[in-house]
């Protein structure tokens, strides 16, 4: 009975924070099948680790940690350079809504993040999700000052990348 209650609570929290699962899957898996598998891996790891979750702390912070660790583990196994979600992903993921037309902003986002190293992608994801520095620090295990420095460096790098002609010529490997 307690297990059932725990499962219900976990599923409710997973549902509430499901976008974290899909965003991490989008950032660290290359193909649609991989993304689906990775999303499932993250969800299951959240369930398996749920016992270690301290309910006095924010669930999202804990879930970002689990999801990013599973994502980085996936990227390590794949050994290929993972790419960000392309606009095609919603067609491929179960429950996805059909897309009438591709969004160029998503394609540009994909190109920008694809060029980052796996750990930088984690930071970019947290930055783009507009998490406060204190929460980013708690997820990554850095000091707040260090987070500020890393984000400033990340912004510079993204700006340089966005300004370079190569960033607009490079194709997105998802058919976007």
């Amino acid at each position: 009975m307690a297990d059932e209650e725990r499962r219900r609570r976990c599923e409710a929290l997973l549902h509430e924070h499901r976008r974290i699962v899909f965003k991490v899957a989008a950032v660290y898996a290359r193909h649609a099948d991989d993304r689906q598998d990775l999303a499932q891996d993250i969800a299951l790891q959240v369930w398996r680790s749920f016992g270690s979750y301290d309910q006095a702390r924010p669930f999202a912070t804990w879930m970002y940690r689990v999801a990013l660790n599973v994502g980085l583990s996936h990227a390590r196994r794949e050994r290929e350079k993972p790419a960000l979600l392309g606009a095609d992903v919603l067609d491929a993921l179960e429950g996805g809504m059909p897309i009438a037309e591709p969004d160029e902003r998503l394609a540009q986002l994909a190109r920008a993040i694809e060029a980052l190293e796996p750990l930088e992608r984690a930071l970019a994801l947290l930055y783009l999700d507009e998490l406060p520095y204190a929460e980013i620090a708690a997820v990554l295990g850095l000091s707040e000052t260090n987070v500020g420095t890393r984000i400033a460096r990340l912004k510079q790098r993204l700006r340089r990348q966005l300004a370079s002609p190569a960033s607009t010529e490079k194709g997105v490997p998802h058919g976007t």
């Binding site: 699962v21 997820v139 890393r150 966005l162």
Partner: protein
Amino acid sequence: MELDELKAGWAVLDRRLSALEVSLVAGRAVSGVRSELRLLRWGQATQALLGAGLALAAGSFWVDHRDAAGPLVAGLLLHAYGIAMIVAAARNLVLAARATESAPVLTLQTRVAELRAWRIREGFWFGVVGCFMWVPMLVWAFALLGVDIVAARPVFMGFNVLAGFVCLAVFLFLSRYMKAPEGGSVRRASERLEEIARFTGGGPV
């Protein structure tokens, strides 16, 4: 394109992802750090048991052969090797037990990368020592038959030690020049540690 536009793209993504549902598929194997380390845990537990067996057997062997130099040294070497196997396995098991997915990202990634780098270095040194370990094992085997092979056939044992050096040369050659999988692992483990150091700016995590 400016950073604000990147954020706008991210917001589009966010809206689209809100339409998706996530569900727990029962019976599915999880592939995370812990599952990656599961094989390592079994391997290390087996190594610790083998090491304990070797340390116990070699310990009682050299205690019984304190009067003969050859078997005594062989027994001591095997005893030390058994203890090294236990210590190395215990260290790895402790490191693996600390690797949990709910740890802060850099903490876990650093632990995993260090564990891998250490395992590879440790494997190299066990390989180096292993090139010679069969020599004391030979001494032990003959002693169990009642023969002190070092005293009875010193030249034969000399050739065996020499063969150990040949084995070592082949091992070093393969490790260095043949791009053995071990070499690739060393490079990958180093690259991961370098990546973490680059990300943290070389400072403490």
